[in-house]
Each structure stands twice: as C-alpha cells, then as structure tokens.
Amino acid sequence: MSNQNRTIYGGKVNREKPINFVFNGKSYIGYQGDTLASALLANDVHLIGRSFKYHRARGILTAGSEEPNAIVQLGLGARTEPNIRATEVELYEGLEASSQNCWPSVNFDIGAMNNFLSRIFPAGFYYKTFKWPPSMWLFYEHFIRKAAGLGQSPTAKNPDRYEQKFYYTDITIVGGGISGLLAALGAGRSGCKVLLIDENPELGGYLLDYNFSINEKDGKKWLKKIIEELDGLANVTILKRTTAMGYYDYNYLTALEKVTNHHVEFSNTLPRERYWRIRSKKVILAQGAFERPLVFADNDRPGIMMASAGQKYLSRYGVLPGKSVVLFTNNDHAYLTAFEFVEKGAKVTVVDTRDLLNARISEKCKLLNIKVFKSYSVIKTYGDKKVNRIEIQQVDKNQNQLTGEVENIHTDCVLMSGGWNPAVQLFSQSRGKLKYDLKINTFVPDKIIENQKIIGSNNGQFNLQENLNESFEAGIAAANELNFNSVEKVNWTGKEEIEFTHSDVEPYMLGKKKVTKGSKHFIDFQNDVTAADIFLAQREGYISVEHTKRYTTTGMGTDQGKTSNVNALALMSHIHNKPVDEIGHTTFRPPYAPQTIGAIAGRSVDKLFDPVRKTSIHEWHVENKAVFEDVGQWKRPYYFPQNKEDIHQAVKRECLAVRNSLGILDASTLGKIDLQGPDAAKFLNMIYTNAWSKLEIGSCRYGLMCNEHGMIFDDGVTSRLGENHYHMTTTTGGAARVMSWLEEFLQTEWLDMKVFCTSVTEQWAVLSISGPNSRKFLEDLTNIDLSKENFPFMKFREGEVCGVKARIFRISFTGELSYEVNVPARYGRYVWEKFMEHGKKYNITPYGTETMHVLRAEKGFIIVGQDTDGSVTPSDMNMDWIVSKKKEDFLGKRSYTRSDTVRHDRKKFVGLLVNDKKTILPEGSHIVEKALKQPPMKMLGHITSSYYSPTLGYPIALAMLKDGISKMGEQVVVPLMNGKIIEATVTDTIFYDKEGKRNNE
C-alpha cells in the first residue's frame, strides 16, 4: 500500500506525477512537490532516525529548516551528504536516503542501550571524562571518537561545481512570506533595486498553509496576484531556495542558493549551489517565526510534531500524519490546526494548559466534536517507535504542580504548540539587541544597529491585519529613505478564522515538580538535552547562559537551537527565579543553517585553487623537465634532472657547471621597483642602511633594508640608471612587502620627498648567466663592450642582446663572473633559447633554486628569511660594514644603540664544518652546549642553511650561534633527531674564494 496517509483531495502536490525514491533500502512513491519528510509521512514512515546521544527513536518534528530530528544521509557515493533535513529535501526521481546514527538499522539499533545507561551520560559527561582518573582518558577517547559525529562524510572527491556571486542592491529582503512579499512590493513599486531571498521553493511562507481572506475574498488568489506582480517587476530579483547565512557589518550578507540540488540529473555547467555575497544599502528582515515545542516527559517520540508542521503536511502536501490526534497547546491560534484535521477526517482531542477559552473557539470545538481538556498537561507518552498513548493530568497553577487523576488517551499523533519564536538569528548576527516579551514569552527585536528594518512575525507581530499594511509601508519607507519616490499606500483587510492576539499565549513552562523521574523531558531534541540536564548544569555551577550551552550542548548542532533555545532559557529563568531578560541569551553566529564548504571555496579548487605565477620562460622549463619549487605563488625551477638523476646528482652537476664553465638561471621572479625623482638618493639613504649619495650613474650597490627595530627584512641590489633614476631589486617573496613599505613611508612619513615608485617586476625577464665562461659567451651576442675595463663588477650597461634591447647588471649571487641580462618579458623565452643554442660550446647548464642556494652558501651570502628570521640585525649577520656610521638617519638606526642589540652574546652568523666531513646537518638542528641523553639541553644556536658542497667535496653549513664570532675555531655539538651527536667546527661564513677574485675577473 502506498501513500496510505494521503488525503483524498487537497494539498499542492502534483498527483499526476509520481516520484520513486528509496529510504533505508526500501522503495516508496511520492509526488512532485513533496519533501522527503512529507513523502515519508504519506507512506506511514514515522521513524526517521536515532538521536545523537541516547539513540532514541525519532521522527519528524517540524516542516522546515529548523528540523532537529529528521536528519538523514542523502545520496550515494561521492555525492552523499550527512545531516540533511528531510523536511527541506525536495523529492526527485531516484532519491536515496537513509537514517543516521543507528546500527545495524534504525529499527534495531544497538546504540539504543545508551538510553538505559543515560545515568552515566549526564550533561557534561564528556568533560567529566577529562577529569578523573587522568589515565582513563586514553581509554575513553577511543570510544568517544568512534561515537562522535552524525552521518558519514563522502570519501570521494566532490564532483559538483559551486559558484559564487558578488551582488549589490538597494534593498535586500530576507524572507518571502507575506511580510517580505509586501515589503518587496512596496519597495519594488517605488523603483528601487530589490533582492528578495527565500529558502523555500515557493513564496508565501506561512500563508500557503492556512486559510485567510483579503478584503473578504480568498486570500490564496490574492497572494498569487502579488507574486505575479513581483515577478513582472524588472527591478525586483527573487531568489528562491536561497538561505541567508551570514549578516555582517554594513549590511554585508552571504546567502546560499541551491541551484540544482533538487534536480534529478546533475548539470555539467550549472553549479549545484551558488554562494552570494550581497552588499545592500538597506536590509529588511522578514524571516517569520518558529513554533516553540512544549516540554513534557518523552516529548520526542515519532508522531509528536509541531502543530504548524501538522498543518503544513495536511494543507500543502495532502498528508494526514495521524487519525487520532491530540493537540497540546497553550494558545488559541493552534486550534486552527485542530479544525483542519477534523475537516480532513481525523478525530481530535485538545489538551490546553489554560483554564479559560475563547467562547467562539469553545463553540466550534463543540460543533466539531473536539474534546478539550482545559488546564491540563500531557505528562507522559508511550509507544516504542511511534507514540500510541499519552497520559494527561490537571495542572494546579498556584502550586505549580500536577493534581488529580492521571488520564489516558490513545493517539497516533500529538501536535504541540507552545507559541512562536521570531527567527532573530540574523537580526542578532547584525548586532541587533533583543528583549524578552512577557506577553508572548519569547525574545523579540529591540534595538536595531544596521541600516535595517525588521517586520512581521520576525518582529514579534503575528496579527495578519497589522502585518499586511505595515509590511507594505515598510517597503515604501525603505525606498523613500533611499530617495525613491513614494507610491500609493493600499489598505487591505486581512482575516484569519482565529486572529493572533498577544494575550492568548500562556507562559507555560515546565515546572520543577513536573519533572518525573525515569523519563526524559527534551529541551533540545538534536543534542538530547533534557530538562534534567539544564537542572544539573545549574547545580554544578554552569549558571551563565553561555556555560549552560557548552556544558549541556543545548542549542548546538545543525539546527543551532532554533526550537530549543527559548525553552532552555525559560527553564533557567524558572530555576533561578529570575526574569528571562536577566538570564540573557547565547550569541547567534553565522551560518544561519548548515552550509557546504564547497560553496565557500567556490571555483577556487584544483588548478584554480591559488594562482600559479609563471615567468615568461616557464614553458621552456616545463618542456625541459624542470622540477619546480613553490616560492610564494611563483613556480621556480628547483633543478633540471637529466636522465635518471636524483636531486643530489643534478645539483652537483649544475653547481660544477657554474663553477667550471657556464650556468644559466631564470631570475625573473626577483622583485623590481623603478624609483624616479629628485629625492630618490635621499630616499634610498633612509630606506637602506648604507650610503647611496655617491653611487655613480651606471653603478650597482647591494643594500640591506631594516625595519624600525633594526631587524633585516629584505635585501637586494639597486642600480643607478640616470641622474634621478634607480632600479631596485628585492627578494622574490618580499617584492610586494617592499613596495608597500616604500609607499607607506612616502605617503605617511616623508610627504615632501619627490620620489615615484613603480613596480616593474613582470616587465623584465631576467636571465642570470654565471661562470668563468660567461663573458666569452655573452660577447658574441651583444653590442656592449664586456671588457673588464669598460664593464667591471657592480656596473650596469644598456645595449642589445640577441637583437633585443636589454639592461645588463654585472652582479653575482654565485661568486662567479656573472651577468644578469634583463629583456622585456615578451622576449624572455626567445633570448633564453638563443642562449641555450649559443651556449652549447660552453656546455651551458640551466640550474634551479637549489643550486643557486648551494652556490651562494659556499660564498656565505645570506638569504633573507632563511638565514634571517626577523629578529636579526646586520651586525648579527657580520654585516657591520653595510651599516653607515656617518648617515644622520635611516630606518633602523636608532635601534642599534639599544642595550639588547649591542650585547655581545647575541646569536651571530657563522659557518660550521662537520668534523666527519660527511654528515649534512638538517636545517633547523639545534647547536647545544653539551649533548645530553634527552632534552632539555642548553641551546647555543641553530643551523640556518646546510648543503653538500660539490665544489669543495664536503658538507657546509651556516648557523646562528651565541657569541659566535669569539667562538671561531671552537668545537660545538649538534644532536640529531635520530640520536646521533655530530661534532662540528665553527668557521668563517665564506667557504670558497674568500678573496672574491672570481666575480671580479
């Protein structure tokens, strides 16, 4: 039998279009327009899953995104997703879902024994496992980790596409219920740009499920017309199936649009979801309200649901969730649902906490043969996998206790209504302040911070008539405030059979004496937090609302307490005998509802994950099988293996080629900054530690850049191109930082200095050729006189190279005779290829960053960021020679007289040679005073760079060593992770060509 709970007529599902789906391996049929929840209820499936902690049988509580119970594992394979609210999933052909948190099955679940062991799992039990005895934690942890979490994450790569979108609008309206629609209409008619967001597939909200009239005519027809008009307005954009997730400062909102989640077939081009980043001049919140559960013993059984959910299943989906129904309420409005159920053939009994009942409602109940128990409460429920009986008892309000005979009612569905909570989550995220409204027993918006309006039941206003006109006018007013023209106001007269008035919700909260032992009064369904847990937390001292939340976990999980928060607070208020306002509420944070990480990542995945910066010669490196290294976002050749060389063999070959003949390096990634202006030299004098005034045109100079604390933060060679024109180079990773640094000082400190700084990093391809044959090699390819006399070391010349206009800098990072050839990027690859072709006779060898590092280490040249770490001065690096004693001022100068920078026992830059001439010390190793069996050992320093030197035939290392200069020639020990202790001798940092003859050739 299929769809046995479907009413004969009614609902908005398309009964012509059956849809096949599978739940827990069994096939069912639903209809187009169903949610997974409505289709399951239609097929008389009430047991949906097991609860988190106690593995209790759970069904469907609500009909919306606030659902705490009916969360399922949706989809299979790579597309499987845990924790999906069955109440939100639109049914599609072939849908597959299964219960969570149960094994081996939802019907027979071993974990359900937790329910009987609940005494050992009280609130905070997880934290208690930390406490005592300490050694037990490792034992507990094993089981806790296994039990933690709900559902299964997919293990395969996510096959779907997620897009993002930036959007600007005049007004964003969150919520497409009656208030949101009318606000959109008011603003839309005024002509301003409106974005209307609603999380449902259909606009209309609450009014889709209830009968009402406008101007004494059918309200549903009127609603349809309003939506049609909005659809026709070009300035109004409507996003359905879109949930506003975050509300940040200055009306910046994020929203998640489900684009194809509900499609049968996944699209190759359309995204599954789209993540919107919205900036809005004004925001109107019209999110409505959530119905509040009532707290009673075993209020969590399948078959117990919110009255409004029952209403929705019946009127929207044509599903009658039960035939013998009990409505448990503390307000008038829920009686509408009782009437609706009777009309559709159910037998209804009402248990009302109040003693007085509106005469009109009393009359109608009599007419419909509805028995009403006044001043009664449901005190317990029964039924293994679905409710089948309840106990009720009279409430003595004065004594706050139960009295009289316990009566039994047999039932298959309990509808409960404890009043309504405005959905204040986004309002609160936007820093809006809440106040507790005693009339309707809930928090309502109080003080607005952002440029925002909040309307309708979202603002605690539940009366239809009031909402109609106020919402429309709010839309007009918002447009007006943005200087759009006013439009005519409209007066609608709206009526519901039972009007919502503020006085008819009774503050009915569970009293202390109503907690009956041996049963659980659930406050938070998803996290299995009971009233007893709240009591316990208070007894154990967790009386701040934030502490109670964390101790008991109430308000956590996928629903973030949408159904539980207010009841928890009310109970705390009751326990402490304090107004709820004084208890306060926890902080609401984004996201409003669970959201996929994929949508936040958007298209920044796979090859688009992060930019790969490439030089103009990059493709040549790829074609010639370079192994690449990431340097910031750049890809730089690490080494160029030939045949089956490993890194050591390749680097050895590359190093020797440079030392003996000719090597070539792509140095294009170096930062380059063009400096021009009459004060350029003065500026350089301030930025660098050394003197620049006397640098001749055509000359190059190395400079160290320090911050105000005197610590090295970048280095490079700057050349004087013309009278007031300099070309600065920076480290690859430091380029952007240096550029900002220069601009910061020009724009905030030295406003009168006439200097323009312009980044030209990518303008130039830089081909660095190095080795004793580099002059001979280059002579054939350029019109520049390369003779030692005309073009000595540390000079710059302009001319042509391979027919391309070029700048050549005679500078060296290898210690060999070197030329850095700069050509416009577009010619980079051409010139490189010409070099390779022409260089064959010198066995020209392309080399990568590893060889560059080895060669410079042999020469003791520092790498900022490797040998330095932001805490070393030039003096620490033995570079006092580069710090001017004469200059009046420069960045860092004042710090060189501080007691801390002048003390002698600072770590100094030294060389280290291992005594065994074999071991390559791992970079980062500690140098200790005395090697002990285990730490702690007194540390003297650490290794900053360490390589095997092919030129020398043994390993070399650079290190920072306490008082290192006076330790020259001394022995130190370096304990390794593998337990070995290596002895080394402290040396000078220059291992090769100490006189610096080779680069001066």
């Binding site: 897009e163 993002q164 930036f166 980043r277 688009l608 103009s616 009459p678 312009t758 990518e762 990027a825």
Partner: protein
C-alpha cells in the same frame, strides 16, 4: 627560427571563446606606459596634455583619449597611457623630452601587463562571480576603468564602449591563472546556448 626576435605570450596557446553570450580573446601587445606626475603639478600636467592634445583624466575611473592614445586614471598621481605597440618608444621619448626638467616618471610597462578582452551580454555576470566591484556604480559606460581583483589576481578593467566590452589587464605572471578562471566562469553561458 628567424633572426628577428620572437614575441612570446603565455596566452597565445589558449583557446579563445567566441559565443553569442560571452567571448574571451587575447589582445596583442600594446604600448603601455605608466605616467606618474603630481595631480597638482599644473606645469607637468599642461605639458602632457599639450603633447597628447587632450586632457588627462581628472577623477577616479575616468578614461580619456583620441585615435592614437588612451589614458586611464589609475590613482591620484598615476595614469596608464595606451598606444600602438610600434609607437610606444616615440611616445615615451616624446614625453620624457617635454618633461625633462619636471618631477615625473615615464615607465614602459608594456610587458608588465597582459590584456585579455571579455565581451558579450553575459560578461558582467562572469565578472561578478569573482570580482567584488559594484557594476551598478563603476564601469557603467564606455571609457571608464577600475582596478580591483578577480578571484585572487589584481586586475585593471577598461570598459571600451557602452557595449559590454572589457579589456582586462593583469600582471604577466597571473595571466595564465586569470585566463583559466575567466574561461571556467564563462562555461555555463557557452553551453546554455546549445
């Protein structure tokens, strides 16, 4: 290989997109000249304007020009002058000459940026996927420009006409990434035609 120096651009190997909704193509090398002069330096400004025969842009996002050159406002003291590639050396030398005694900087950045052209009715939809600019406020008509970012690359966007034609300049090293990004984002609009 001829003896004439060969150009190379990482985008020449990219497959261009041409559809009714969206097109993406590479723009050949242009002369791109970074011009720095103080906004309130009337003398320098006058000299440049006289040389160009038209006014420099005065406010953020403005673009001025004639048949030969085009000037984009980049910042209070910074402009980008576009010319034909072959003529850029003339322009650079011409400007340096007339400004020789004045505080300014004329810098060839023709290879610093690579430029791609995004056009078609869906181009703003493609851009707003990853560019945080408000297209209701900026780049609303031809001859306007703006600097922003697209995903993780900083860009200079030049709207050439009231039609939806955008020249997007990006630093050379990011060009490959940006092209791939734009091509990927254009995907849904190419296929939706079929």
């Amino acid at each position: 290989m001829s003896n004439q120096p060969q150009f190379f651009s990482p985008l020449t190997q990219k497959e261009k997109i041409a559809s009714d909704n969206i097109s993406l193509e590479l723009i050949d090398f242009l002369g791109k000249i970074n011009v720095r002069l103080k906004e309130d330096d009337v003398q320098a400004r006058d000299a440049v304007e006289k040389y160009l025969t038209y006014s420099l842009p005065k406010s953020a996002g403005e673009v001025t020009g004639n048949n030969e050159t085009r000037v984009l406002w980049l910042g209070p003291n910074e402009y980008l002058l576009l010319s034909e590639d072959e003529k850029k050396d003339n322009v650079i030398n011409g400007l340096r000459e007339i400004l020789s005694d004045l505080f300014c900087a004329i810098i060839d950045v023709s290879d610093y940026y690579l430029t791609m052209r995004l056009s078609g009715p869906k181009s703003i939809e493609v851009l707003t996927k990853a560019c945080p600019l408000n297209f209701d406020q900026y780049l609303t008509k031809g001859n306007s420009c703006a600097q922003s970012y697209i995903s993780k690359a900083t860009v200079l966007i030049d709207r050439l006409s009231d039609d939806l034609v955008f020249d997007i300049s990006v630093r050379w090293s990011f060009a490959d990434y940006l092209w791939d990004w734009l091509a990927d984002s254009s995907n849904e609009f190419i296929f939706s035609e079929k």
